[in-house]
Amino acid sequence: MTQATGAQALFRALETVGVQHVFGIPGGAILPAYDPLIDSSIRHILCRHEQGAAHAADGYAQASGKVGVCMATSGPGATNLITGLASSYMDSIPVVAITGQVPRPAIGFDAFQESDVTGISMPVTKHNWLVMHPEDIAQTIAEAFHVASTGRPGPVLVDIPKDVLQATFDYRDPGKIDLPGYQPVTRPNQRQIVEAAKLIAAAERPLIYAGGGIIKAGASDELLKLAELTGIHVITTLMARGCMPDTHPLCLGMPGMHGSYTAVTSMQRADLLIAIGPRFDDRVTGKLATFAPEAKVIHADIDPAEIGKNRKADVPIVGDAKAVLLELIKAVEAQFEKNGRPDYSAWSAQLDAWRRQYPYRYTQSPDAVLKPEFAIERIGELTQGNGIYVAGVGQHQMWASQYIKFQRPRTWINSGGLGAMGFGVPAAMGAKVAMPDKEVWCIDGDGCFQMTCQELATMTVEKIPVKIAIINNAYLGMVRQWQQLFYNERYSEVEFGWDVPDYVKLAEAYGCIGLRVESPDEVDSAIEKARGIEDHPVVIDFRCDPREMCYPMVPAGTSNDDIILGPEYDREEIEQVKAAHTDTLYDDDPDPDLAPAEE
């Protein structure tokens, strides 16, 4: 036993669980923790806003698979973390937030910078702790990392009063983790696996619906193996982009509100959805009652509460995606051996025909205003999909997901569930800290960028050379798109303007390199120039066409069958799609039991 302060115990515990980086900002109540930090092996990245620290921890975790750590003081410091924690919670990202709290005797008396942080963060964390004794710090930190990183990953928060950090006590290493109420099931039930394999063998139009769970479980190889073994096509949700190479012939890309025609329609026509780690989000299903009306559903998830939440599962499987896929591969092989391989060729031919007929489309004329899709697509092409691509939230995020050809898991990072604007810049910073040898590109919107661009200072000072492509369309583009489509083109409070701020000057003021691109012919040279700069963050102001819309689109609350292809398609093609969806899509009436009524 050795004497230690609570703060020393905190850092010893963090080092013990292998923490290398912490994103944070000091303040009154957390001050004692910043003293032993000086002697610690842990690198602290001094952020400019706690929201930046929280998003950075998220980006760090998404890029590396490790637990991201952020630290803030009590009251406003802690409340500023909340948006980031909420995003990590929705996307199941392992993050540990450590917050200072006012001293124990002051708790509950509205002390200066006091806030009930465990109360505030309860709905947006997997669990949280208020540590009331210095002896409990090390054990709590060990538990916090265990809970954050196992089962369905997620953010947790550890709140420590200032006097607990200051107290001196006999330090003891944490003991065994004993959480009787937390025992995630990772191994799938064998009977359900066999049932699933039978459905796969009996299906005519199967589809693998790959969700974020694949990436969390590190199950990309197993996914590929199942797809290739069966010849079943894969759609990759926004949180699963990159879990299968977009260039693979069996990869159909993103489904959902702005997904590809083929991915959206294949779900509507499938007779079997093999869902591994998605959560049937409303942005994917569209109107739930008409979603995938002919499909039986195999739903595998590590969180039992996701199964049957939105869509009834015919075969529910609780388990880790990797374990599920490994077992499923074995069971399917056995099934094929016994009953022969099913013939999906007609279905595959149909999918390929759709892919040829209805790809993502835009038109960039050389002498016309720059199209955002072009800038984004060129970033993807010139980096050959070898970078890490981080997005904010909005049109640019959807275009990035549509036009970048992802090759590997953990190379696409975004705030999918919460949709937190401002996520991009700090998350890219976190990703670069985690993966310093990777080329990290933040594809951001002008609206998003202005919410968290203060972290440019952090990147310059801490030498974190991220490349930021602002898709500057002078508007809150997605909001403008909705106002154009659903509010009779009555534009209300959406125009930001191209010129304020001057993004190049802003970048330079923060010590970054600023570039501006105003026409399509400048795109490649700017990207190449940015790629050549390795000692500074680079900001490129891509001045894009404000009128460009993001298509295809399934308007909110409507059926996936009502997908809008957009103006790039001529009337004849659109009529063909409409006819296909109304006349021949369903041979029989959809089974009403399969789709619960929408609330």
Binding site: M122, K126, H127, P180, G181, Q183, V185, D303, G308, V318
Partner: protein
Amino acid sequence: MKHTISVLVENKPGVLARVSGLFARRGFNIHSLAVGTTESPDISRMTIVVDLPERPLEHVTKQLYKLINVLKVIELEPASCVERELMLVKVRATPDARAQIIELVEVFRAKIVDVGTDAMTVEVSGSPDKLHAFEDLVGDRIIELVKTGRIALSRGSRSIKDRALRVAG
């Protein structure tokens, strides 16, 4: 539809807030909630009556199991459990009305726990239906009343802890 569930939780600060917060944010309607310690000092037991017009009870139990402090959740079917509630009710009882109230108290096997010059406090325990019946009969004599919320145990010799903790995160 109303369901009665028993929830074993770790006896730690904030657990009630975690459970009630979960019900609130998921839109699960709590009809009644009673909580107290159990035979083990570090475990508390909640009896929750939840009203779910449109969703299966499974949605509630799965969400409860996601809380780290929740150890066990079971549903108590009305046919195979005993349900009780305790009520204290203060009634206007001027001397001329006392006899009538005392008669009611006897019929309901209730207890008079306080008598004042013009009021009496009655302790009634039993099934929720019995309490309702007493309330109806006393009617507008009621000055104020308080209930514990429902508690319940399954019939027979089995305990909530007999089955292994089926816990998932």
